[in-house]
């Protein structure tokens, strides 16, 4: 009959009577893998597949084969067999059984592996955009967020401003109480500022003790008011030093507005930094909005001092 090749492919075939499933041909492996045809095979299918229907066998024609999967088990082995009953000729049907146990194992293992890889990918992406110390967004995330937001906004109707915050005298915390305490200060600062901001802000740590707030809905004046409130709440909060003394922190901040003071984040950060340095150089613990006047007035005298006074 030419079915010998199928024996080698874990596929077994039988040709049976359409009504009784009595075989006119059954491959050498068919009986070993599935069992005898006739009433016995009806009983087997019924016992292994609760959905099996004798009526459905009678409706099989060239366009409508009947497919189902059964699990067979003997003492030592279990097999997953895909059964296809299809049209063979007017009086006969063909029953094809394929051992898909290995395929199923591969499928389930692959599914599991794909889900591990998906989780892994998500966690890598999260790590790439998170500051590991404070758990807030990092510099890379701020650039991504800014560029994505600006790209999809109508440029005529956009109200975006940005603030760079720098913790005052942070170096002293590190020098006096050690880096561990410095880390605690950073964590506590990030937590407090996060709580003081609203959903219209995106907050990130962009450098050592330098943070950035991006506001999607405020101009520089409105953001200045918000950051003033944040500064007040930070100034009133207390931090316990390793020696159990109460200390307080403050920050200086520089504010810029999108398009007025720059159109790229680099440009905006650079100008916010200038306002921030001015805030540092003129007393710390204050929020200063960038302006060209500010530059003209103070650039000559402050430029040299900016870097050294920043901390």
């Amino acid at each position: 009959m030419g079915f010998d090749l199928l024996n080698k492919l874990n596929i077994v075939v039988a040709i049976c009577d359409r009504q009784t499933l009595m075989p006119s041909y059954s491959s050498s492996k068919f009986k070993a893998m599935i069992g005898a045809c006739g009433e016995a095979i009806f009983n087997l299918f019924e016992s292994k597949d609760k959905q099996f229907s004798r009526e459905k066998v009678l409706t099989v024609d060239a366009q409508n084969p009947y497919e189902f999967v059964i699990q067979l088990k003997d003492d030592r082995t279990r097999k997953t067999i895909k059964v296809t009953i299809s049209d063979y000729c007017k009086e006969q049907l063909m029953i094809v059984g394929q051992d898909i146990s290995e395929l199923k194992k591969l499928e389930y293992s692959l599914q599991s592996y794909a889900s591990i890889m998906e989780t892994q990918e998500k966690s890598l992406i999260k790590m790439a955009y998170t500051d590991s110390l404070t758990g807030i967004a990092n510099r890379r995330a701020m650039f991504k967020k800014f560029n994505e937001y600006i790209e999809y906004q109508n440029q005529d109707n956009i109200n975006v401003s940005l603030c760079v915050l720098d913790i005052d005298h942070f170096k002293q915390f590190n020098d006096i109480y050690g880096h561990e305490f410095g880390d605690d200060v950073l964590k506590s600062f990030a937590e407090k500022v996060t709580l003081a901001l609203d959903d219209d802000c995106y907050f990130a740590r962009i450098g050592g003790e330098e943070f950035c707030v991006l506001s999607y809905t405020r101009n520089s004046v409105e953001l200045n008011t918000l950051i003033h409130n944040v500064l007040d709440s930070i100034k009133f909060s207390e931090i316990l030093t390793p020696e159990k003394n109460i200390t307080q922190i403050s920050f200086s901040a520089g504010i810029v507005e999108y398009t007025k003071h720059g159109t790229t984040l680099d440009e905006l950060l650079s100008n916010a930094d200038k306002a921030l340095y001015f805030a540092k150089a003129t007393g710390r613990g204050q929020v200063i909005s960038f302006s060209t006047d500010l530059l003209a007035k103070h650039e000559a005298t402050l430029t040299a001092k900016f870097r050294e006074t920043k901390r």
């Binding site: 290995e102 591969l106 389930y108 293992s109 599991s112 592996y113 591990i116 989780t119 892994q120």
Partner: protein, 120 residues
């Protein structure tokens, strides 16, 4: 879970899935432990074994010891059953030509988790 990446060394997922398949067959053929694995179902068991083995061999994913403990506590696994599964696992690694030293390390990683799996 290990500093040497056995997962990469032995061919990654291409080796892992037949290894899992053979381990799956072997535990279900065991007179001692088949009854534990039998009711779990092929899909869940293969999924669990793939995840755990990939992580244990230094591949992707992590396996939470607490989850390992809670997943096994209901079975009240005995010392004999534990030894049987470890024996099957080592035999499977041998069949896949994993080097003796590497089998030793992997076996010790498994042994370290014994208290999480075997009931007191």
């Amino acid at each position: 879970m290990t500093s040497i990446n056995y997962f990469e060394k032995y061919g990654g997922f291409a080796t892992l899935y037949p290894l899992v398949g053979e381990f799956y067959d072997a535990v279900l053929e065991s007179d001692i432990v088949a009854y534990i694995f039998e009711p779990i179902g092929m899909e869940r068991l293969i999924e669990h074994q793939t995840k755990y083995l990939a992580a244990m061999m230094g591949g992707p994913g992590e396996y939470d010891d607490e989850k390992l403990k809670s997943a096994h506590s209901q079975f009240k696994i005995t010392e004999t059953e534990w030894n049987e599964v470890v024996g099957i696992f080592i035999a499977t690694l041998n069949n896949f030509k994993v080097e003796a030293d590497d089998i030793k390390t992997l076996a010790s990683l498994i042994a370290a988790r014994k208290p999480l799996i075997v009931a007191e």
